[in-house]
Amino acid sequence: MLAVQERPASQLKPVVNNFTFQAATINGTGSQSSNLVITRALFAMGIPVAPKNVFPSNIEGLPTWFNIRISPEGYQCLAGAADVLLALNPATWQRDVLGVRSGGAVIHEANYPVAGPTKRDDISYYAVPFHKLGRDNIDNADLRKYLSNMIYVGSVAWALEIPLDEIEGALRQQFKRKPSAVELNMTSVRLGWDYCVEHYTKTDPFRVRPMSGRVEGKMLLEGNQALALGVLMGGCTVAAWYPITPSSSVCEYLETFANRYRVDPKTGEKRMAIIQAEDELAAVGIAVGAGWAGARAMTSTSGPGISLMAEFTGLAYFAEIPLVICDVQRMGPSTGLPTRTAQGDISFAHTLSHGDTKHPLLLPATVEEAYEFGQAAFDLAERLQGPVFVMSDLDLGMNLWMSDPFKYPETPYDRGKVLTAEDLERLKGDWGRYRDVDGDGIPFRTLPGTNHPAAAYFTRGTGHDEDARYSELPEVWERVLERIGKKYETARDLVPPAIVEDHGHDVAILAYGTSHHAVVEARDAMAARGLETDYIRVRALPFTEDALRFVRSHKRVYVVDQNRDRQLFSILRLELKPEEDHLISVRHFDGTPISAVAVMGPILVAEGKASADEFTQAPPVPVVTAGIE
């Protein structure tokens, strides 16, 4: 929830490169391009940006908010409330104005009423007749809707003091393939800029200045893009998916990459099959079939798709077939909020399917990890012979993030324990598909097509013995199921280890995935208030031994979950002895990206460093839902 916090407002002392800009618009009107231009211009000035798009689940006409957090530290999380608001949605006008932090500024469509609750004396107002400016000045009727949005780019640039040539530079990047569009757009930008220059003197403190040392050489890209690139680099050759927000773009980006990098220029043949399946049951079935036949195969989906993939995941678990499932989490249960973020599928994915199951999860927090884990998932799945989940979320997947360029992989793929015809010859055919030869719980397999008379075995989801023969014998069943369980233990040494900052403090924070960015800021803020904390970022399930040791060695461990039911917290508790259990749960689950306040509020209060009042939020104003249904 957006917290409205008091802030020592100063009309005079400038606040440079350290505030949140929010554009409140209506979706489907083309405002997304405008927001990207502002983002890119800031980024080009050397200023760290953290753009967060909070958009509705429809195509046109509902409220959407685009937030750009800028901070010298490069914090990547949402900062709670906006300092500078661009208000272009009458439906949310009142809510948006009341959400602005004291001392802030509002750039708004001139015909919105500034009266009653929307008339605040602690913020600055810059009314701009966007509508009229567009109507009067943009002749091209086809483009008017789109270009009108560029007008506000000009006004925002004026308010934030972004030089116009930075805007032009950003436009040039946006229109790499169509440079002629730049000037057309700039004409609209100037309309908004000129209007403000003519009518206003800046009275609020928020402004930007070029800076250096933070973003040079950094990329700006989405988590789904990074994940798709990881999947490509990871050698995936069969991908099957069914469209669903927010995961669709994983396979869409993958297709773009595959068209670019997997097509044989001579023959036109493509070294990858990407199948848009008829539903999620088929998507995961295709991935399982391909994994069985020896391809690196994956499917990507979100919550409802995970539910539908439950049966096949159990088959892959019990028949021991490599399978990568990318879950870009959105807010559930049920259809929920398809365009809002959550970490709500952790426990469901962890034991997906009926009967006893337990699957490794990878928990990326950054685009770089999305890229890395997109690759690692295949190594793990083929090594462990079973399902592996990459648990991304909407925040990571669909927002732009700053990152250093990714590393080109230096290691070969780990294709796991596969016996070739030559191996079989050497073994004189003496092998068993489900024998635990190495003591790590992982058996050997052969691939269909292996030209050796001993290669074939029969795969089934029913009971089978070590030699893959059908069996209903009690002792065989128990033995096989225990052995499969052993692989989860083996996985502890194979998954990406936790990242630990241990300075021997009593209090520690344990977080995973996108909560990381809020924790980074929260720790700085808490340290500033005298509460030093240690930190462990868990990057996978099962927990590694290191992670458990860290937890055991701290007096109080705050576990941050972006879900209602303390999902990772609960999984962790079950791995600890009662006497080792000093866990305290911190939760956030309203669909917005988690902020530092959501992390540090509960911790400071619990640690006696703040009163509960400090973090009590003013009740937000409901949106007037007329027309929204």
Binding site: V215, G217, G235, A240, A273, G294, G429, P448, T462
Partner: protein
């Protein structure tokens, strides 16, 4: 462990890949004695032997049901996959995409196909995956003890006496409506028809649907059932006499003018259709095939034989432009962009 079987010394009963018919057998059946599915297994053994299927290239796929157990009963030297109920098509799709060289043969039941699996069945056909799809159709769920499946005919009576209230789902009718490229119907008891159809299906370059009526002796072989041996034998209308001429054999047979037509299959084999009735069905005419099926259904009859074929439709791997080499065999160097390409991409994302 699996014994290393001996390749027998060449002899008269070896096929073109030097295997005896026994090499095409599987484990002993655990289905009921007299089950139609067992007969189909035998037809498969014979057809695959005669065709000279290479066991290591075969992938035997199935769902769940008595019928879906069948892949364990033939060609034990092939990999097989008994998946989950109704989802054999997606597993097969994945397997074929991973390794285009595999000859994918799926066995399903009527419950597996027309009840829980209807969606995957339809979309498999839509993609025209190159595979043989055998529906062992007995009108009931055998493995769960005889409830009606969706292919049961309206009015057909359950063992307990309960009549079926719902229209049958005709898996051939559906397939043709959905644009399938190869659709045939037969009867488990008719080896003369099933064997050449199986070989033709192996030769076809897309999804080959074989709906084989296969009576369940335990739960659906009584009076009042329209899938009993007695009923099927009585109502089976054979469309053609079939001769399969494999591409690897040079057989020249003369047929009297006008008594037969020939279809050239994707792998160069031929299927010769000898007319039984003078106004013979043209299996390349989709609308005629649909009409035929519907009229027969109205009369409570089964038309058996090759119902429809279009040998020229592209299969999924062609549509996806996949290389002939199995995707699963490509390695790092083939799959990763070069370091230069990668660095260029990274630069694209910078600033």
């Amino acid at each position: 462990m699996i014994d290393t079987p001996q390749r027998p010394a060449p002899a008269a009963n070896l096929n073109r890949v030097q295997l005896t018919r026994d090499a095409y057998k599987g484990a002993a059946t655990t289905l009921c004695a007299g089950c139609g599915h067992n007969a189909i297994t035998n037809h498969i053994v014979r057809a695959f032997w005669e065709y000279g299927v290479e066991p290591h290239k075969l992938a035997k796929m199935s769902g769940i049901g008595c019928s879906s157990k069948a892949p364990t009963y033939f060609v034990s030297q092939s990999h097989g996959f008994n998946g989950v109920h109704g989802r054999m098509p997606s597993l097969s799709t994945g397997a074929k995409l991973a390794n285009r060289e595999l000859m994918v043969v799926g066995v399903s039941g009527d419950g597996d196909t027309a009840s829980i699996g209807l969606g995957q069945y339809a979309h498999l056909i839509r993609r025209n995956l190159n595979m043989v799809y055998i529906c062992e159709n007995n009108g009931v769920y055998g493995l769960t003890k005889g409830q009606f499946s969706a292919t049961a005919d309206i009015g057909s009576v359950q063992k307990g006496g309960k009549p079926n209230e719902f229209e049958t789902i005709d898996v051939c009718g559906m397939a043709i409506e959905l644009g399938a490229s190869f659709v045939a119907r037969s009867f488990s008891g008719d080896s003369k028809q099933v064997v050449p159809l199986l070989k033709a299906a192996l030769s076809h370059g897309g999804t080959a649907i074989l709906d084989i009526i296969s009576p369940c002796v335990t739960f659906n072989d009584h009076a009042g059932s329209t899938k009993s041996y007695a009923y099927v034998k009585e109502h089976d209308i054979e469309l053609q006499d079939l001769d399969f001429i494999p591409y690897f054999e040079n057989i020249e047979v003369d047929y009297p003018e006008g008594t037969s037509t020939e279809v050239t299959l994707h792998d160069g084999s031929h299927l010769r259709l000898r007319k039984i009735a003078p106004d013979a069905h043209d299996p390349t005419d989709r609308i005629a095939a649909m009409t035929l099926i519907h009229e027969a259904r109205q009369k409570g009859e089964f038309v058996t034989g090759l119902l429809y074929i279009n040998p020229d439709m592209k299969d999924l791997c062609e549509r996806e432009n996949l290389p002939q080499r199995p995707l699963r065999d490509f390695a790092e160097a083939d799959l990763r962009p070069s370091r230069e390409q990668f660095d260029a991409l990274m630069r694209d994302y910078v600033g």
